[in-house]
Amino acid sequence: MSEPRSSIDDALLHAYVDDRLASADRARVEAHLLQDAEAARKVEAWAAQADALRSAFPLDEAEPIPASMRALFARPTWMERARAVAPRLAALLLVAILSGGAGWWSHGRFTASPAAGLPREAARAHAIYTAEVLHAVEVPASQEKHLVAWLSKRLGTQLKAPYLGNAGFNLVGGRLLPAGRSDLAAQFMYENTRGERLTLYIRDGEAGADSSFRVSEENGATGFYWVDAGYGYALVGPLRREAMLPIAREVYAQLMD
């Protein structure tokens, strides 16, 4: 015998169509549908609708997520921090250009600049070690954690190797160097697929006050350098100033965070 109609209500029929019923309830509904042609037609139509909807909206997990959505989840180190320091950097860069970036060489020689010798040392270390094919670095990027821990310990500050993958440069590795005035320097080396190499030179023992962002150009290499909290930083590479600037900004944003 069929159950009284009222005991099989629409809610139960929906749950049957949507497959949300336990087997006992399912059997109960099925038994009822055999007796109630109207309910059976309803259920058949609803199920067909649900199937058609499902096939109209397949889930495409492989579809690329728009960049604007991905950007919402990007780590703040990237976009936001760079954007946060950009106005400051622009001001610093303006100062650097006005003060005559190309004149840093003589500037460093004749004045007690806080970054005295920094660009020259960084540029020399860059020239020497980027020319090496087999021994460009002391510790390779495969041991990045060890490399950073070691250099941090020797320089007495927590360093990090900035991530420059977005600019196409990957970490090759790094080394420890002697620096002027009996101090130490660390060098991180990066390389892109064209074989161009950048070095980030970090020197301790900077006596002077924090300095602005300065630029130097020498023998086809561009250097951006600054002093912060007793450490001198220089990013040196074979790119032109305009190409180096966004990378320098990135390094600055990551290191000065």
Binding site: F57, L72, K160, P162
Partner: protein, 178 residues
């Protein structure tokens, strides 16, 4: 300071494909749909810290998407230049490869004639597989409302589909797609 490391993806990120699918079902125009999802994601991230961990992530996100969509509907109802939902501007003829089959075009036409909340509910339950309770939470209405709304939506769709085909209203025109 630590060496830069790629962070683990945010839990919300895994839900993006579903949110986009649902938004396309609501809006049809994929560009407008992505715009809606963008809004929804920004709100979800802003509310992430305040989120009480008393429910599944998915219904929570769908509730935000639903609210964002409702607010837009309200705004567009006021502003005459809000054309995104205008019948005369249905967006691309084939949206994201959907609806290409004939019976799906019929379904689309019928879906467009449902009340927005009904259309949303059919998608939440039929496509996204939310439970009735979760759908109620997403739509911000009691469970009873969801059940009666579901009946109205399915019955209206049944009549629309049958009427369009000119066939016996009791014979569903849709074939089961297996």
């Amino acid at each position: 300071m630590l060496p830069f490391r790629r962070p683990a993806p945010h839990a919300i990120e895994a839900e993006i494909p579903r949110l986009r699918r649902h938004a396309r079902g609501l809006l049809r125009d994929p560009v407008a749909a992505d715009d809606l999802v963008q809004d929804c994601l920004a709100k979800a991230l802003a509310a992430w810290q305040q989120r009480r961990d008393d429910g599944a992530l998915r219904p929570w996100l769908f509730a935000i998407l639903h609210n964002t969509w409702r607010n837009r509907l309200r705004r567009e109802a006021i502003r005459p230049d809000g054309l995104a939902l205008d019948e005369e501007h249905p967006g691309p003829a084939v949206s994201g490869g959907q609806w290409e089959r004939l019976e799906l075009q019929d379904l689309q036409a019928a879906m467009d004639m449902l009340a927005p909340e009904q259309r949303s509910l059919l998608l939440l339950i039929g496509v996204e597989g939310l439970s009735y309770e979760e759908a109620a939470r997403a739509q911000g209405v009691p469970l009873g409302t969801v059940m009666s709304r579901l009946t109205r939506a399915r019955e209206r769709l049944r009549i629309l589909m049958a009427g369009e085909s000119g066939a016996d209203p009791n014979r569903p025109r849709l074939r089961r797609v297996k």
